[in-house]
């Protein structure tokens, strides 16, 4: 984390589905190597923001910059190159169900590197071992548990050593212990790979355990109402709603 330059910059972002505005005037920056939390109440547009950042939804207005490069104004090829620096872990894991875990992890490696099949097999085994799934190479996603699917999804997201890892509700549907293990894994990866991590979550335990910085999206006023380190936000909440959110309503 020696380099604390700005990695991602979101500028005046408006998000909308048709004429329905989800969030407006979002402004924040994410520093290289930090764990950045996007939190907010249900339906506030957290996941929608993530979808905008990874290129699945087009902004209604505003810019998203990666290392100063405008994502949505880039030419398709340049944008694809930027996307290759992302790794995304979807809420459901989103493993390709017709492929084994090894094939899931291998596919991006096959497509974007010149490694031989044997080398790929070795890399895949390593990635699966990193998430504690050594030996599950030949299993299909439907044959393993939800927690394992998430971890396999993480292995796939890490396949190309991404600069930025995006997590959509990583702890959703996980028991507290698996959820804690996933948090530890996220921190471990950040520390060892130096990746920037963006996490969408409303899991308080995770927010405090891993978050370096955060923004809070409000569903009522449809914009971000606070940003900063989650622990500081709890110590000095800017609005009653944030205090209520971060203290689980126990005032």
């Amino acid at each position: 984390m020696a380099n604390t330059s700005t990695h991602i910059n979101v500028h005046n972002l408006d998000m909308a589905y048709g004429s329905f505005v989800v969030q407006r005037d979002l402004n924040f920056e994410i520093k290289r190597g930090e764990v950045f939390i996007i939190m907010g109440d249900s339906g506030c547009g957290k996941s929608t923001l993530l979808r905008h950042m990874i290129g699945l939804n087009t902004p209604a207005r505003g810019e998203i910059l990666y290392d100063g490069e405008n994502f949505w104004e880039a030419l398709p090829r340049a944008r694809e190159a930027m996307m290759r620096r992302f790794g995304v872990l979807y809420q459901s894991g989103a493993l390709w169900s017709s492929m084994t875990l090894a094939e899931n992890v291998a596919l991006p490696i096959e497509a974007y590197t010149d490694l031989s099949p044997d080398e790929i097999r070795e890399v895949v085994s390593l990635k699966l071992a990193l998430v504690g799934l050594a030996g599950f190479e030949e299993f299909y996603p439907s044959e393993i548990s939800g927690g394992m699917q998430k971890r396999a999804g993480l292995a796939r997201a890490m396949a190309l050593d991404p600069e930025i890892l995006f997590f959509d509700e990583p702890s959703a549907g996980l028991d507290p212990i698996s959820s804690r293990r996933l948090d530890d894994l996220i921190l471990e990866l950040r520390d060892s790979l130096g990746s920037t991590v963006v996490v969408v979550t409303h899991e308080l335990a995770s927010i405090f355990a891993i978050g370096d910085n955060s923004i809070f999206l409000d569903a009522e006023v449809r914009t971000m109402v606070a940003s900063g380190n989650p622990k500081q936000l709890l110590a000095d909440p800017p609005t009653p709603k944030i205090r209520e959110f971060l203290s689980r309503g126990e005032l």
Binding site: R51, G55, R84, Y90, A94, S98, A111
Partner: protein
């Protein structure tokens, strides 16, 4: 002034009863008694509402529920309606007379005012619906055109050798679309041959020209029926399967995962399916042609036309041109069925029922495409005289 309403339903043994009275000029006393359970139906609050809205102005509503022996959800909508009406008319409600549990449930139900989500809107008027439907017609058309355009672009990419997809996917799809379809194609095309022969035989027999059944079956199968029946079978088999696969992948975010990893779904998912179906349709159609002719021969045998005679007659009637024209059609059907299946799958919504309608729509679109394309190509063949 006192009236007594007995809301007892016929099946009920313990009636629920509402009794309205006015202890003072501006106070309405609602006395409830009996058994208020869902099994007895949902009581109407109409009488109370009428009492509140007509006659002398009521300032205060009080309740007496001493006589209620049992209650569940059926009591709540009744009271909620009264409360909302009182709220609307600024009438004071005293809940003291209600059971503790009822009061707490009512508080919960009224705590969060209904949000104006625009979800429960009044059904649009007749003209508005016609207008919306007319505007809506253009949308799927535009969607389809842009999909066909995208398909063409990835096809060009394939020709330049730049398309990326897993070769193993293509092999598997070819096996699923081709070899696995053989039994059903065998059955259908043999029977179509039999049916054509029967229909023809009845007419031709009148002229003693049974032998020409061979011409009829041979030409009909190779030029039209072989390719068309194969295409319809594959629209039901493979077109539906494509829509279901791609729709489920959309629901599971698998398509999103492809996109964010830089794999274009058109290239990675649609192209192998398009290739598999387009490659497999002509050989299957050719196979169907022969099975249909065989079906005709079996019927002709019953008309005392020997197999040898029948096949000799067929050989004279058919030239490679007839097969070629049919196979061109079948390749076109292959492209269309694959496009219909993939389009519906990729555009599927994110729910189980959306995948269901994507599959239905894929089969319907596929069959419509086949019939329309068949008509157009037949007219073109006729015009250019082949």
């Amino acid at each position: 002034m006192e009236h007594n309403i007995n809301l007892e339903s016929e099946i009920s043994t313990h009636p629920y009863e509402v009794r309205l009275s006015r202890p003072t000029e501006d106070t309405l006393l609602v006395q409830l008694s009996g058994n208020w359970t869902l099994g007895k139906g949902l009581p109407s609050s109409g009488e109370v509402e009428q009492a509140l809205e007509t006659g002398q102005r009521v300032q205060r509503v009080i309740f007496d529920t001493q006589g209620v022996t049992d209650w569940d959800t059926s009591l709540l909508p009744f009271l909620k309606k009264i409360m909302e009406l009182c709220d609307h008319h600024a009438i004071q409600v005293e809940e003291d007379g209600l059971p503790q549990g009822v009061r707490r449930l009512l508080q919960l139900a009224m705590a969060v005012p209904a949000k104006d989500t625009g979800g429960v809107s009044k059904p649009a008027g007749f003209l508005a619906r016609i207008g919306n439907a007319t505007i809506g017609i253009a949308e799927p058309g535009a969607e389809m055109l842009s999909f066909i355009g995208d398909t063409f672009l990835v096809f060009l990419k394939l020709l330049r050798g730049r398309a990326r997809f897993r070769r193993s996917d293509l092999t598997l799809l070819i096996y699923e679309c081709g070899a696995q379809a053989l039994p059903i194609v065998t059955l259908i095309s043999f029977l179509i041959g039999v049916i054509l022969a029967f229909v023809g035989a009845v007419q031709l027999k009148q002229f003693g020209a049974e032998i020409y059944v061979a011409n009829l079956v041979g030409i009909a199968m190779t030029r039209e029926m072989g390719p068309m029946m194969t295409a319809i079978v594959l629209a039901g088999r493979s077109g539906a399967a494509f829509a279901a696969q791609l729709g489920t992948m959309t629901v599971n975010e698998e398509v999103d995962a492809f996109k964010t990893m830089g794999f274009e779904p058109m290239e990675f998912l649609v192209l192998p399916r398009l290739l598999a179906l387009t490659l497999m349709m002509p050989p299957l159609a050719l196979y169907a042609d022969f099975l249909g002719i065989l079906g005709g021969a079996v019927v002709a045998k019953g008309l005392d036309v020997s197999f040898m005679q029948y096949f000799e007659q067929t050989r004279q009637a058919l030239s490679p041109k007839h097969f070629a024209l049919g196979l061109i059609k079948s390749a076109i059907y292959g492209v269309l069925v694959a496009i219909a299946g993939c389009l519906r799958g990729i555009k599927s919504g994110r729910s189980a029922s959306a995948v269901g309608s994507a599959v239905t729509s894929a089969v319907v679109t596929g069959i419509v495409f086949i019939i329309v394309a068949s008509a157009i190509t037949t007219v073109i063949y006729e015009v250019i005289g082949v």
